[in-house]
Symmetry: C2
Subunit: 336 residues, 2 copies
């Protein structure tokens, strides 16, 4: 089993190294690829140094079985043919192919088997905010069909990359030191602020990030659900949080929902408000599950339920989900 | 016109001094009251020093026309009789009397005239998060009755008081300096975090803050609207933000809503996403209006509309709203 990571120096690329090691992923050889800026850097994996190779249009992917790509939609589009033409499975973290009909969009807790039907050899990893939400929605959908979703996000700096996380920390340091604040990775200062914009605006007034939640949720869950999202950047570092309202076909009780969430794969129910226990990004950072709490009835909708979730954006929101897709393919003997 | 401020040393008390000065409030004499901890402190107002007097059960309010009280619900209840028995109008910023039937709950942009009917001499100032929302809802309610509200808040440290604001800044400093983080004013560390709890939990799983939004909105707007709120603390300093979805009886178009918001009292429409213009707490802090942006259709509800707002929690969310109530009483000649 030969595995490649494309975009090895990025926040998600680095997380791939940790996740593959942590999970004892059954690989025999690992190759790292990156841009000119990153080529030549060396990273440790299982006690051995691995040097980042420059990503080129050549036959470097000839013997690769699985390629995890996380270097932006442009790179994924440009190199998809080089990566897949010898038979490698490309598990792509970018938005390049997510809505293409011949590319499955997979969150293993929801639709693992969709990964088996990949005419182009590409499986798309959904947007982080969507992954986190659907992991929590699936056990509730299994109880009663979800018709509508309203969701307000509290997204961490990591969603904008490793440099953005560093910029947020730098901003707080600059404020402390009475210096001018550097703003380059976000549209505005994020320190002591909240920015109601993630990604670019669409003609309907929603951002791309918000429309991903609408479209990707429907594709992953094979559902006609309608989702209105408000995506907001806050100053946490690497875990996202979401406030979610759902309307189901029949009313679901709080107890029923909690019971389903407590045993759902990939979910940890963390719902003990009397003891001030609920999910928070400071605590979910660096962990694998989606944490759900504050489950209660929607006071504005008799068929409604509302809850709060938090999870690591780089892990389950990106690298871990992609690795779980690969693990599923290996388990069912469907890599090549 | 003799005006008293009770709780003069607090974040809201200090804002009363600034707001009364900024607006040239027509007062002849100002008296400040506080606890034992605050008594004896001196504050400048219109170029003159004012010493904080200890709040006692005596006749100190005999000649007072208007008393702005902001020292917590316990103090408001304990001293309401002392303050009002000689005829002073008590405009109370605490939650002590808000839901009492014989106490009007007033946001001048919505229900100024309610302030005229105050059998106990008390007018209640609503919860900050509610004030900010109803200022933006009123012009939309005037277009078509609002039936449901879903709202997720992004509330600043100031909502927990001046010491909490200082604690948040201290936390970032401590993290910068590699020191242990002080946590005393919030249930958990707020720096680089998001805390999905404001005030204490109720048996239905909602916090008191969230239930205030349900109950106070109905009372202020004289409405049967149902509101499901999720109130969350983020690490901004003094302005709150809110993501709001409304369902109206008839569909309101985005253009219609923007037009109504643009001319609504107390509202500034700040809705130019193409130029990255939308309300943000860093910019709305220290200003008077409620800023509304990101107005768009609710993709999950044909009769739904959604928008984002931000406003200064200490100003319109507390001190300014109370002063505007007093200005209304003076304007209509209804102080004593």
């Amino acid at each position: 089993m030969k595995v490649a990571i494309v975009g090895a120096s990025g926040a998600v690329g680095q997380e791939f190294l940790r996740v593959l090691a942590d999970r004892n992923f059954p690989l025999d050889e690992l190759v790292l690829f990156g841009s000119e800026r990153s080529a030549g850097r060396r990273y440790m994996f299982r006690g051995m140094e691995h040097e980042v190779k420059l990503l080129c249009h050549n036959d470097d992917f000839k013997d690769v079985d699985i390629a995890f790509t996380s270097a932006g939609a442009g790179i994924s589009k440009e190199f998809a043919d080089d990566i897949t033409r010898h038979g490698a499975v490309m598990i792509d973290n970018s938005s390049a192919f997510r809505m293409d009909e011949d590319v499955p969009l997979v969150v293993p807790e929801c639709n693992a088997a969709d990964a088996l039907n990949r005419p182009r050899g590409i499986i798309a990893n959904p947007n982080c905010t969507t992954i986190m939400m659907v992991v929590a929605l699936q056990p509730l959908e299994n109880l009663s069909h979800i018709r509508r979703i309203h969701i307000a996000s509290y997204q961490s700096a990591s969603g904008a990359g490793a440099a953005a996380m560093a910029e947020l920390q730098q901003q707080y340091k600059e404020i402390n030191d009475g210096k001018p604040v550097t703003v380059s990775k976000f549209p505005h200062q994020l320190a002591y602020n909240v920015i109601p914009q993630i990604d670019v605006f669409q003609p309907n007034g929603y951002t791309k990030e918000e429309m991903k939640m609408f479209n990707e949720t429907r594709k992953i869950m094979h559902s006609d659900v309608k989702c209105s999202a408000m995506c907001v950047r806050v100053s946490s570092l690497r875990a996202h949080s979401e406030s979610v309202w759902i309307e189901t076909e029949r009313p679901i009780s709080v107890e029923e929902a909690q019971k389903a969430l407590a045993v759902a794969p990939g979910v940890t129910l963390q719902d003990d408000p009397d003891n001030l226990v609920y999910p928070m990004p400071l605590e979910t950072a660096g962990t694998d599950d989606i944490y759900v709490g504050r489950v209660r009835k929607d006071l504005a909708d008799d068929c409604g339920l509302t809850f709060w979730l938090s999870g690591d954006q780089i892990r389950k929101g990106a690298a871990l989900n992609a690795v779980q897709i690969a693990e599923y393919l290996i388990k069912v003997g469907n890599v090549k």
